[in-house]
């Protein structure tokens, strides 16, 4: 099912979304309202990051849950981030650093109104889940410095050797027991109940299973989903405040049914302008999307018949498609494994292996890297990824640059040119391969 909604401005085109997307929008707006009214309702507010998000644990203490990264991206989607970034830069923050951080700080400087226009109160707990990105640490130190919130560090070691050792897992579990859970108990005034954690995790597993099924439908031709532009909606509840919530389980069941029905009907993805007509190119994308011109960016793909069949960004808040599931029988160890396994916590050989595997299993025509200025965790070294993937798969790769939420770093015309050349290159490679096959 999909629904059409007319924009407020009669000149604007109608936007088409899957029903599950509307369900998700409802969840998100409700969460912002919960945050806005949390203190009035006697609840404490936590803030944490998408990679290494311990949502089930936070729910055990009834925290209203903020994720500053998604606040920033929501502000980007709503075209509010540009001014926030300038505000933060005027306040002394360097133009060189992450624009998620500056959007968050700028939002605070502008009067702490969240993306939906409701107040965004100070968090009571900054859960510094330090997974896969050094900037997170500085981000919450900056927030703490300005707003005096309590910060608890959960240091997730990096998979430098490409594996999770028992010592790494133990280190994370020890921190949960020694620091994180006691701090949550103290701040929330609630005692930790491990059985409640298990119960939430059981819900998580159901949703994780359905999310994986949804993402893997892209192996089908034509793909019924876009594994990047569409997937950012699909991963929303799972990666933010809803993993372990029954409504999220329902969302993923509805989504899976919708997507599988599309697959059976031989349909392609739903784009903001309706069903995608013909699938001409199948791509794997590495790197986060640009949010300030998200719709324009997506259009450059579906206008050309390009569908993204798999992306690494849709694994940034958890890699589920190689078998990991939260484990209610080993809840703390499972939280540790989850944090340790997030995409940007993988080393380079692991990231390259994953991309090559996607290209193979999803029968992709090539790799596109959207290199994000703000995000060194993703971006530093991506040109080597490009070379290695080309070498190993023989498939063409292309490179574009933009930013997460800084509109100054999105050059639509440049990106469009590059994409058009890339699609041309894929076409030529295909023709050459077909001619070679005909000769033999």
């Amino acid at each position: 099912m999909s629904t059409v909604i007319a924009g407020k401005d009669p000149k604007k085109k109608e936007v088409i979304k899957e029903d599950a997307m509307w369900l998700q929008k409802e969840l998100i707006n409700r969460n912002y309202h919960e945050i806005a009214t949390a203190h009035q309702n006697g609840r404490k507010i936590s803030a944490t990051f998408v990679p290494g998000n311990l949502n089930e644990l936070l729910m055990c203490f009834d925290f209203a849950r903020r994720l500053p990264e998604t606040d920033a991206l929501q502000n980007g989607l709503r075209k509010k981030s540009g001014k926030m970034i300038l505000e933060a830069e005027r306040d002394g923050h360097s133009e060189d650093v992450c624009t998620y951080v500056k959007t968050d700080l700028g939002m605070m400087l502008q009067g702490q109104l969240g993306p939906t226009g409701e107040p965004m109160p100070n968090p009571d707990l900054l859960l510094l889940s330090y997974t896969g990105c050094f900037t997170f640490m500085k981000w919450f130190e900056l927030v703490r410095q300005k707003y005096n919130c309590e910060t608890v560090m959960l240091h997730t070691p990096y998979q430098g050797d490409g594996k999770i050792s028992p010592a790494m897992r133990k280190y994370v579990v020890d921190q949960l027991k020694d620091k994180v859970i006691p701090a949550m108990e103290r701040i929330s005034g609630k005692k930790f109940d491990i059985d409640l954690l298990r119960q939430y995790m059981k819900e998580s597993v159901k949703a994780e299973e359905d999310l994986v099924r949804v993402l893997q439908t892209a192996k089908h031709r034509p793909s019924p989903i876009d594994g990047y532009f569409g997937a950012v909606y699909y991963i929303g509840p799972m990666f933010t405040a809803f993993r372990g919530v029954p409504e999220a389980t329902k969302y993923y069941r509805v989504l899976r049914e919708e997507v599988e029905a599309r697959m059976r009907a031989g349909k392609g993805p739903i784009t903001p302008e309706g069903d995608m007509a013909e699938e001409k190119y199948r791509l794997v994308v590495e790197g986060p999307p640009n949010w300030t011109s998200f719709r324009e960016f997506w259009k450059m793909f579906y206008d050309e018949g390009a569908v993204v069949v798999a992306s690494t960004y849709s694994k940034v808040g958890g890699v589920y498609d190689f078998g990991f599931r939260h484990d209610p029988d080993h809840p703390l160890e499972s939280l540790a494994d989850y944090c340790l396994g997030c995409y940007t916590n993988l080393n380079f050989p692991q990231r390259i292996d994953m991309i090559c595997k996607y290209i193979d299993e999803y029968q992709a025509d090539g790799l596109l890297i959207n290199s994000i200025k703000s995000c060194n965790s993703f971006s530093a070294g991506q040109l080597l990824i490009l070379r290695e993937v080309e070498k190993r798969t023989g498939k063409p790769a292309a490179f574009i640059e933009s930013d997460l939420v800084d509109p100054r770093y999105f050059s639509g015309a440049n990106i469009k040119n590059r994409l058009e050349s890339y699609f041309q290159m894929i076409k030529q490679k295909r023709t050459a391969a077909a001619s070679a096959a005909a000769v033999h």
Binding site: S94, K138, H155, D174, F348, N376
Partner: protein, 388 residues
């Protein structure tokens, strides 16, 4: 050797991007091995205890033309990884048998994986350090990390590293750190006798010399420079902060001094003064190294501050103990840790009414006039208005 000779030798070592000193050390005894490390901190004691030479790799400076390295990085990534790759791809680091990439930022972290791919025949280790400072939690993890490195290097050396070996190496580095502290104290006392452009070179020599030799060199420098009096100027005493990874060009340090500043403390070669006091040499060596790291090490942007009130403490201590009158934040462009840290440190300084100025650089910055002008204006403002 005279001061001039010592400085000249250090400058030659600094400028030698072929690491000939390392090659000579290896050639002196067959079978010797050398292990490179990047900023900011690795326990060099473990490398030394394996009978190997720890070699500091701090990028290519302003004399290296980066051609291949640029092909691996976008314009918005700092310069040190691209010049380091250039050094590697042009064979200049062939003398190293392995590379250690400490936990400092996402760029160096990712470089560790790139190294694994580009230099498959070399030992490569991403060296994680804890951001949890409890002995029973972060300490245990850190000891495990060190033990893993100890095992790896033992295998590479062909014999395990004993506790005795480690304690001996800790003693060697205790002495080296003591000499570094003496040098810093001497410079703070008489900055006109030990200009930072010289002190920096003496410290950088520690990247390629065995620690025993470096310790002697530092002490020789102090004693020689003290013999010949140099003119004392009415310069502003400043602490330089933020240059802990990608290093500024030597010309930039000279420019700051020429502009009327005495640099009385800095974080250029943090590894050499990271552990703030002696590490005991009679206990379990890894346990002692861990305790020193967790409880008695310098604060820097890559290290988490447990409490808000801890922010900037080390910098304030540097300012007060060295009698500094201001702080210059000199940070590499696109250096996330330093640039994200800076606003917090600036807040702390403002609260303590300590003047500061800030600029960015790259290791190959050639336009030094604006920096000289800025540092000069800062020094003038301190001299004219601060104490008054």
């Amino acid at each position: 050797m005279s001061t001039e000779d010592i400085v000249k030798r250090c400058e030659q070592l600094f400028e030698d991007l072929d690491f000939n000193a390392v090659k000579q050390w290896k050639a002196a005894q067959p079978g010797r091995k050398a292990i490179g490390y990047m900023p900011i901190y690795v326990p060099r004691e473990i490398v030394h205890a394996a009978g190997m030479l720890p070699v500091g790799v701090f990028g290519g400076g302003d004399q290296l033309e980066v051609i291949q390295g640029d092909a691996y990085y976008q314009s918005y990534i700092c310069r040190i990884p691209r010049s380091t790759i250039e050094l590697g791809l042009t064979g200049r680091l062939d003398c190293l048998d392995g590379m250690l990439f400490p936990s400092i930022c996402d760029v160096i972290r990712n470089l560790s994986g790139m190294w694994q791919i580009l230099f498959k025949d070399k030992y490569v280790k991403y060296f994680d350090v804890p951001q949890d400072y409890a002995d029973g939690v972060g300490g245990k993890f850190y000891i495990h990390e060190m033990q893993a490195m100890r095992d790896d290097l033992g295998k590479l050396a062909g014999k395990p590293i004993s506790d005795e070996d480690l304690n001996k190496s800790i003693a060697v580095y205790n002495e080296n750190r003591k000499a570094v502290r003496e040098l810093y104290a001497y410079r703070a006392l008489k900055p006109w006798q030990a200009p930072t452009s010289e002190v920096y070179l003496v410290l950088r020599a520690g990247c390629v010399l065995p620690p025993e030799e470096h310790t002697v060199l530092i002490r020789d420098y102090i004693s020689e420079t003290d013999k010949v009096k140099r003119p004392q100027r009415d310069n502003a005493r400043v602490v330089l902060n933020g240059s802990f990874c990608e290093q500024p060009p030597l010309g930039l340090i000279k420019s700051i001094e020429m502009a009327g500043c005495y640099v009385v403390d800095d974080d250029f070669q943090l590894i050499q003064s990271w552990l703030l006091d002696e590490v005991p040499v009679t206990g379990d060596p890894l346990d002692e190294l861990s305790k020193a790291f967790l409880h008695r090490s310098a604060q820097t942007a890559s290290k988490y501050d447990d409490k808000k009130e801890d922010k900037g403490k080390h910098l304030l201590r540097q300012v007060s103990s060295r009698g500094a009158e201001g702080v210059i934040f000199a940070m590499a462009s696109f250096c996330d840790p330093a640039l994200l840290e800076r606003p917090m440190l600036q807040d702390v300084l403002t609260k303590h009414k300590i003047p500061y100025t800030a600029f960015k650089y790259a290791e190959n910055t050639g336009q030094l006039a604006p920096i000289r002008e800025q540092a000069g204006t800062f020094a003038d403002s301190i001299k004219l208005w601060s104490a008054a």
